[in-house]
């Protein structure tokens, strides 16, 4: 049933490549032979039902989890077998927006956003202040520098999470459910930001979501994950009109069909 994603990819060199990745967690086969290739400069959204392993998949890309078998390559480097120090080096190419923002609760918005820069001492403090101000303006959080995450709304925390992810100007951005729980206006703001990152900065993005309208607006490619495998991937219009019953049911949100019979 699984379509080999590589066969339908564009000719661009993949920045992220997963080959036959398998992972078992808590007695359950969460990933069962995932093949995925994400071309450089594109936005790929991984769609799938809740609990289908989307977050596990993205954690493999950034090396937070290692596969039981199979390979994960990022810019040609083997993430699955990298040492801790190699991983730290590889991760410098990444920015990641977490589902719950994952802002450090003890730090202010400014300190959170400045954290990757101040910890790696890549620029002097004055330049850090300038860069943080720039990204906070981008996410419309100017004036909230001194707030603690607990004092912000869910949407503002999400935007602060985006600001922290982009502050280092990463080559690759990973978004874990960036629009979940947001109101329609903030959802569109986040979607615009995801598009801007690709169009203005040429960033390669992987978005984990089950928000189909947002995925259609922001992505060059969609991939549908089910039962630990990528069922199908391709341009949004191709996936939206898929002939595969599982993909069709997911896209239409049907309550009866192969997805709910499992």
């Amino acid at each position: 049933m699984g379509t080999d994603v590589n066969s339908s990819e564009s000719t661009a060199v993949p920045v992220i490549e997963m080959r036959e990745v398998r992972k078992r967690l808590g007695g359950k086969q969460v990933l069962d032979g995932v093949n995925l290739a994400v071309p450089g400069g594109s936005t790929t959204t991984i769609l799938g039902m809740s609990g289908c392993g989307k977050s596990t998949l993205v954690k493999h890309i950034v090396g937070l989890l290692r596969p039981d078998s199979g390979d994960v390559f990022v810019e040609g480097r083997d993430v699955g077998r990298a040492s801790d120090s190699e991983l730290r080096d590889i991760r410098k190419s990444f920015g990641m927006v977490f589902q719950g923002s994952a802002l450090l609760q003890s730090l202010t918005v400014f300190e959170n956003v400045a954290l990757p820069l101040s910890e790696h001492r890549t620029m002097p403090p004055a330049q850090i202040r300038e860069r943080v101000a720039e990204v906070l303006e981008l996410v419309r959080l100017t004036g909230f520098e001194g707030y603690l995450p607990a004092e912000l709304s869910g949407g503002m925390r999400k935007r602060a999470g985006v600001a922290r992810a982009v502050v280092t100007k990463p080559d690759i951005l990973l978004y874990d459910e960036p629009t979940t729980g947001l109101d329609p206006v903030i959802t569109n703001t986040v979607n615009e930001m995801i598009k801007d990152m690709r169009e203005k900065l040429g960033v390669t993005s992987v978005v984990i979501s089950h928000d189909i309208p947002s995925a259609g607006k922001t992505s060059d490619r969609l991939a549908v994950l089910h039962n630990g495998r990528i069922l199908e991937s391709g341009p949004p219009e191709e996936i939206m009109n898929s002939a595969l019953p599982e993909v069709r049911q997911f896209m239409e949100g049907g309550t009866r069909g192969p997805l709910t019979n499992d």
Partner: protein, 264 residues
């Protein structure tokens, strides 16, 4: 069958926690080269654990010293009139060798260890530790090492403080309830105590500080399962460090105090 199962599971889990805590300790030691860089965090943690623990350590040590002074003094008086004048030496030895270090550590295991495990556990379930990893920030350097250094400084300091407060409490009971003068009390205390006794108490505080920190951080970092998981980690951190303090206390007595300080 159930009670054996549960006991076995509990012991296995505690041994696993001790093993993982030891590995984490080794990793934290390797991060000590960044201690100057993390000095602000370390200072803040030392203040939090050291200064904020003073009231609870004071009350614990004061009343323990008073009870030891009272109980032993009255027993000595019953044995032979005038024997109660030696109460200072008993309170001094009991506080500096055992009660000061152990009580301070036990209080801090609950007060600081529990707090530390719940903070780090909450960070874990909120994906804050994953976020640090993704930002290429080593969580052991950022979270564990400053706490370890802070506790290695705070626990011995608080131990000495508890010794002094406990002896002071014993002296007050001796004077006002047993009629032993301060001079007699402190003369007895200082004659019995040696520098080695005090240094051994400091060594204990230092070791107990390491145990509390490593068990708390290990439990925090391995937390799973949301708020319930944080509660479980906090409870385990307190119980395991409490038990390990008692075990380490005996090992330190047996392996260091008895042959090198006590000479018996």
């Amino acid at each position: 069958m159930g009670i054996f199962d549960e006991t076995g599971k509990f012991l296995l889990d505690m041994v696993q926690s001790a093993g993982q805590g030891t590995i984490l300790f080794w990793k934290a030691l390797r991060q000590l080269r960044h201690v100057l860089r993390e000095r602000h965090k370390t200072r803040r943690q030392a203040f939090l654990y050291g200064v904020c623990s003073i009231p609870v350590v004071t009350i614990t040590a004061l009343f323990t010293g008073m009870v030891i002074g009272g109980q032993t003094g009255f027993e000595l008086k019953k044995l032979a009139s005038g024997l109660e004048t030696t109460v200072g030496s008993i309170v001094g030895a009991a506080m500096c060798r055992e009660m000061g270090p152990v009580l301070t550590a036990v209080v801090l295991a609950g007060f600081v260890g529990g707090g530390m495990a719940s903070v780090i556990g909450t960070m874990k379930v909120n994906e804050e530790i994953d976020a640090l990893e993704v930002m290429s920030i080593n969580p052991v350097r950022y979270l564990v090492m400053p706490r370890l250094v802070a506790m290695m400084l705070a626990v011995p300091t608080l131990t000495v403080f508890a010794d002094v407060v406990g002896i002071g409490g014993g002296a007050m009971v001796a004077k006002y309830q047993l009629g032993v003068s301060f001079y007699t009390f402190f003369d007895g205390a200082f004659t019995t105590l040696s520098v080695e006794d005090v240094l051994f108490g400091l060594l204990k505080g230092w070791v107990f500080g390491i145990i509390i920190t490593m068990i708390a951080c290990q439990q925090g970092i391995t937390t799973t399962g949301g708020a319930e998981g944080v509660g479980r980690s906090t409870m385990r951190a307190v119980v395991y460090s409490f038990l390990m303090i008692l075990i380490a206390n005996y090992l330190l007595f047996s392996l260091i105090y008895r042959p090198f300080v006590g000479g018996f």
